[in-house]
Each structure stands twice: as structure tokens, then as C-alpha cells.
Symmetry: C2
Subunit: 209 residues, 2 copies
Amino acid sequence: MLYSGVAKQAPVRRADGARTHGAILDAAMRLASVHGINGLTIGRLADELGISKSGLYAHFDSKLELQMQTIQAAGELFDRVVVDPAMATPPGIGRLRSLCELYVTYVERKVFPGGCFFASLSAEVDAQTGPVHDAAVDGIREWLGLLQQTAVEAKELGEIGRNVDVEQLIFELFALMESANYLYVLFDDVEQISKGRAAIERILQTAGN
Amino acid sequence: MLYSGVAKQAPVRRADGARTHGAILDAAMRLASVHGINGLTIGRLADELGISKSGLYAHFDSKLELQMQTIQAAGELFDRVVVDPAMATPPGIGRLRSLCELYVTYVERKVFPGGCFFASLSAEVDAQTGPVHDAAVDGIREWLGLLQQTAVEAKELGEIGRNVDVEQLIFELFALMESANYLYVLFDDVEQISKGRAAIERILQTAGN
DNA sequence: CCTACCGATCGGTAGG
DNA sequence: CCTACCGATCGGTAGG
């Protein structure tokens, strides 16, 4: 979506190249979701796409650049599927609920075959250092920040109790969303999604009393 | 601990060999905790230990066997640090609280440099197939089962309300423990541990009213 | 986008 | 536990 847009407006890259570029990133996201960002190798990706390794280097100068662009593309997909639709709900606890519900549905629908892309990515590189680690941290920080800001707005609107600790609330909502994702993928058991939904709804009810 | 015991009682393996075997698994656990079970390579491990690659093959027939024994050793360490000490607390909600508290402390103390070994492992191999995936699933299942059983006992003793859904309770406790681990390592922020402790205590209070 | 190639590292083996 | 080696794959380059 981003890349087709770029291709139409910026003639730096020909339409074919842009289409290939997008197809590469789609395949890269799928591979990284299942095998990890470190398991995403140039050879495997080239095989998957039916092109040569050096063909990939026409699009990416290095593996690191491929990894970073893959992470960015995953972030844009996440925004499109989870964040943007929630913005249709007016500010307040309803928007917070929308964010949580859209996240759980995004996991349940297996937008990425390995579950939430950023959950997998962060767990993989949490104890490492470098640009990939930093991008993972930034992604989670941004998501947590959005949840936090949405909750603060809801509190200012009087839809969340004055005595509620918003940071603590977000920690708990985040924990329940992540666990629903994690256990759903690990056990291949949709019941985990239901438990997550139930817990989230209970916490939101309590906060919004 | 297991291996020194085996060495004393089973003369199949000489004391030196047993000591080396244990040292190999210690290093393997550390490497796997930071780089993942797939990032645990024979060459890296041999370097770390100052021996040759073929030297490792005197102890393990294949990489898969090394991986499986590393996972088993991590499980034994987890039992020693988290599960066994909790059994000193009598059955009931106190034991459930002990299990949670010992887990959080195990994370906080960085027994493994990459956080909880099984959390990292499971997230890494959740979307894959094979014996390593199965061992990861079994580890988490066993841990969840222990929590569940402990909670059921507490309910039978009347220390958890009759109207409490025990499975839901365990899902939520698990989520909070895992998130404390995950965010603590990712952000290197001990505040995440405090949030986890606070949320766990609140949930236990509510369940035990 | 291709073929052809590079040095490094992978898991693993032969033989001691 | 060692040296010496195997074929496969890694990220990457030269040259087109």
C-alpha cells in the first residue's frame, strides 16, 4: 500500500520494481513471523520468491536494511489493521476498548501466521543489541504510548475513575492482550482468545465504573 | 546438580566428563537465553568453552540432542529456583502466591540473562514444528498445570471464592507474570516488575475475598 | 534482474 | 578430547 503509493507519485522507482519491492516485503514479513527476524535469510527469501539472491540485492543493500524495512512494513500493516480503524471510535474508553478488541481480532485472524509480529520480534531480540533491537523496542513503546494516551483522554473525559492508576491499567491490558496472542499461537487454542477478551472487558468495566 | 549426582552414583560417566557435561549445559543455557535456541550453534558454544567443535560431539550426538538436554537442564533449574521452594508453603492461596512471587523474583534476579528461559523459548518456536517446539509447549503446559492445580486446592480449602473461575484466574496471573518478564527485559526497567507484583497481589486479594 | 564467485560459518564425520 | 576435513548455506560482491 505504501509502496504502490510511492510508485504512483515518485517516479524514482518504476512500477514493476515497486511491485516487486512490495512482494518481497510481504514474503519477508511472513518468513520473519514464523522463523524470526534472524531466521529470515537472503537465500530462503530468494527461494520463496523464485529469484536469485543477487536479485534481492537490487532492492536491498544489506540484510540489515531488509530487516529494518520488513519491520517498518509490519508496523504499517499493524497501523492499518489495528490503530487506524480504532480512530473511528471517538476519544474515551470506547476508543480504548476498540484498540484492545481490534488487537485481539488481529491476532485471532492470523494476519501474521506466527501471531503478533512485534510480540514475536521483541521476544526474539529483547536481550540483544543493535538497530533491530531498537526498532522492536520503539514499536512496543509506540503501541504502549498510544494505549496510555487513549486512557488518559478517557480519564479526562470522566470515563475512567479518578482513582484509577492509568499506567497500571495499561500494563494489565497489555499483559492480557499479549498473553492471548502468545497462548493462542503456542497451543493453537482459540479458547485463549476468549479468556483474553473476558479479562480485558472485566478490567475495562472496573476502570470505567 | 543432576549431573554431579549422576556422576557420583552412576559410574558410566567419569567425574571429569560429568563436570564438563554440566559446564557445557550451563554455557548452552546462557547462550540460548540470549541468542535463542536456534542461535545456539555448535561453533559458538565450543568457542565459549574453549574446546573444539568435535569435542562437543563427544558429549552430544547431534545439535538436536544438545538443544533437548539444554531445555531439560533449564527446566530442572526452574524447578529448583521456583517450584521446589514454593512447596515449603502449605497448600492453599499462600502457595499460589509463593509460586507467583518466586517466579517474579526469578525473573528479577536474572537467573537467565535473557529473562525467563521458557518464555523466550516458547515465543521463538511457537510457530514452528518438531521436538523443540513440543518440549517448549510441554514446559509451559506443566507450569500452567501446576498453577491450576494449586489454585484448585486453594478453592477446595475455601481460600478462593466459590464463584471464581479458576482457569480464568490462572490465565490472568500467567499473563501478568509473563508481561512483567517481557517488559522488564525489553526495556531494562525494574518498574515493570513492580507493576507485575502489584497486579498479581490485587488479583489474588480479589480471588481470596 | 542474472551467473559466477568469495570467505566465513553451519552441522557433522573420519580417524585417532 | 584433538586435527582435518565434508557439503551446504550464510551474507555479500563483481560484472554484466
